[in-house]
Structures are given as C-alpha cells and as structure tokens.
C-alpha cells in the first residue's frame, strides 16, 4: 500500500515537472505564447518557435523592451539600445514619403520616462537570424492615452534589427512597415 502511494506521488510529480518544462519553453521561445495575443481576424497571430537559443534570446529581449516601455523603465531601455538607435514611426517611408516621426535614443527614452505608453503588446513576431545580427518582424498593439480619443489605441507592423556586441544583444533600429492603424480600443485595432 505504502509502495503504491509512493509510486502515485512520484508519477504525479513527474507530470507536474514535465508540464512546467513545456510551458516555460513555449514562453521563452515565442512572443505569442508569452503575451496573450489580441483576437485577430485579418492577421492571425501564429505562434513562432525559435529555432535556436540566440533567436530565443532576441525574442525575449524584444518582449522585455516592450514591458520596460510600459513601466517607464528608461534605464533598462538605455542599457539594451545602441547610442545610434533609430525608431521610424509610420509607414510613409515605404513608398518614398516622410515617416510620421523619427525618434533617436534620447527622444524615445523621454517617451518611456514620461510613461507615454500604457500598453505595448507584441504578437505574430518572427525572427530572422544572421549570426550576430537578428531581424525581427511582427506586430504590436499599443496604447498612448494622451493621444486622445480615436488615436489612443493603435497597431503597428514592423521590422527591427538587433546586433550582438560584446556578448549582448543590442536593439539598433525599428521601422514601421504597415501602420500605425488607430482605433478607439484594443479590439478595434487588433485585426489591423
């Protein structure tokens, strides 16, 4: 009887450990698994599973940067971006026009420090690895309350570039390739 009880306990514990292991691996490898993706119809969020540890590291960094933006952690952003960081807002440049706005490192850090963003949630993110250079592409849904009704929520499709320097991945560049698409609430932009 005692032996049977011990066997049940061992099997149960093994199952719990296995489940936790699978869960953490998924979270580590995919933005889609890490942050609940908004319900999407036009552009379904497809889970992406990183094919290497480096790819996982880059995706984790991207997720961490999004979280730092929302909590106003400019110091973290500073520590993981290059001094020549560039963020091109708006897809006007994709047809030869002007972008809506171009941030450098200093100007974007001010946005972070002032808690401009109340939400910055990634989905549909993929990564293209080239050794010490990584390119991510996907979408995020953002919320900037100060933008006012009708423009406070938005979705953006983007291409970002990272480089590994001195053993650490650094965020170099963001370019919006589609958007921003604005709406009244998260739901209204989650399929854009």
């Amino acid at each position: 009887m005692r032996t049977r009880f011990l066997a049940v306990v061992i099997v149960t514990l093994a199952g719990v450990v296995a489940a936790q292991s699978l869960s953490s691996r998924s979270i580590f490898a995919s933005h889609s698994a890490a942050a609940p993706a908004p319900v999407s119809t036009a552009a379904p969020a497809e889970p992406y599973f990183a094919e290497s540890e480096a790819a996982s590291d880059v995706l984790e960094l991207e997720r961490n940067i999004g979280a730092a933006i929302v909590r106003g952690d400019a110091a973290y952003f500073d520590s993981v971006t290059s001094s020549d960081f560039v963020m091109v807002h708006g897809d006007g440049w994709t047809t030869g026009g002007k972008p809506a706005l171009v941030d450098d490192k200093a100007s974007f850090m001010k946005r972070i420090a002032s808690h401009s963003y109340a939400a910055h949630d990634y989905d549909s993110v993929n990564v293209e690895m080239h050794g010490d250079v990584a390119i991510t592409y996907g979408r995020y849904v953002g919320n900037i309350p100060s933008s006012g009704p009708g423009r406070a929520w938005f979705s953006v499709w983007y291409e970002k570039v990272y480089a590994k320097r001195a053993g650490r991945w650094l965020y170099l560049s963001h370019r919006t390739v589609n958007g921003a698409h604005y709406g009244l609430d998260r739901e209204s932009v989650s399929h854009r």
């Binding site: 999407s40 036009a42 552009a43 379904p44 969020a45 497809e46 290059s82 020549d84 560039v86 897809d91 440049w93 994709t94 047809t95 030869g96 026009g97 002007k98 972008p99 171009v102 549909s124 293209e128 690895m129 080239h130 050794g131 010490d132 250079v133 390119i135 592409y137 979408r139 499709w157 291409e159 570039v161 480089a163 170099l172 560049s173 370019r175 390739v177 589609n178």
Partner: protein, 183 residues
C-alpha cells in the same frame, strides 16, 4: 589668383563629396522619384553601403554568380512581396542557393535602384529605397515592376555583406518602365 584656385578646388571637393554620399547619385539612377528626407552619414562606410545595392544588382543582371556569392552569407534571405507586412505570407522567399540560381540563369535583365538611403549602426547598415526591374519572358503586363525594400548589411572581416532583403511595398507590376516608375 592662387586663392581663387584653392577656393574653387575646395568647392569642387566638397560638392563631389556630397554627391558621393547622396543616395540617388550613388545608385546611379533616377533619384528624383522620391525626394530624400533622411540625412546620410558622411562616413566612407555609408558611401560604400549606398553603392552596394546597385553594385550587387548589376552583378545579378550580368549573371555574375561568383560576385553575388562573395557578398552574401550562407544564411542570406530575400523575402519577395509585402504580404508579410500585414501578417500574410510573402510571394516567395529566396535562400542564397535559390537566389544564386536566378543570377546564373540571368532571370533579371534590368534592376535599377533609386531613392536609396542608409541608416548606419557601426558594423550594421540598413538600406531602404526602391528599384525598378524587368524579367524577360514574363506576361506582358507583369514584365516590369517596382519594389520598395529594406535591406540589412553587416561588416565582417572588413567587408560589407548583404544579409537580408524584405520588400516593404510591392511589387507593383506594369507593361513598361514608365508605367511603374511612379509606383
């Protein structure tokens, strides 16, 4: 008189330097299609990278597989079509091997860049702009096309290597160069 010569030389030198880093001129194509709006880095690296897109394209057109091979890594990726910019699938994704196959077969007979600009990050460079291309043997109304792109280069062992191309708008097809030149 001597001072005048020195001043004239200085002006010519400065102007030629500006032309070398001007995206439209370095690409050797019609830079008037989209007015430049981003300042280019005056560095030698920026000037070199600005010329690379057209240099590689010229090699593609003449079927110079060896050159294209020498400036691309084994993990090169070329994403055709802007479907990926809204979560859809691209028209086609070339690996280095499949892209080199197009070079060898002289798939393209025209690839002309314009409006190219560069964003420098030390040993990483991002170019963006447009090219017009022609694929012989295509249906008449799809023989010419315009593509807006973002490309990524990395400097390795002292040489700039072409890592990635992603179409950010297009291709937009037409029956002749003129029909796609404003797309």
């Amino acid at each position: 008189m001597r001072i005048r010569h020195v001043v004239a030389f200085a002006v010519v030198t400065v102007l030629s330097g500006q032309l070398r880093i001007s995206p439209g001129v370095v690409s050797g194509q019609r830079g008037g299609a989209a007015p430049p709006h981003a300042s280019s880095s005056p560095s030698a690296d920026a000037a070199e990278v600005l010329g690379l897109d057209q240099k590689i394209a010229s090699a593609v057109v003449r079927g110079d597989t060896a050159f294209v091979d020498s400036v691309t890594p084994s993990d090169f990726v070329m994403v055709h079509g802007d479907g990926w910019t809204n979560g859809g699938k691209p028209l086609l994704t070339d690996t280095k091997e499949s892209m080199l196959g197009r070079v060898t077969s002289k798939y393209y007979d025209v690839i002309d860049f314009d409006s190219v600009k560069v964003e420098m990050h030390g040993d990483v460079a991002i170019t963006y702009g447009r090219y017009l291309a022609h694929v012989p043997g295509s249906a008449a109304d799809r023989a010419w096309f315009a593509v807006w792109f973002e490309r990524v280069y990395a400097k390795r062992d002292g040489r700039w290597i072409y890592l990635s191309h992603r179409t950010v708008h297009g291709p937009t097809f037409g029956s002749d160069r003129q029909s796609v030149s404003d797309k």
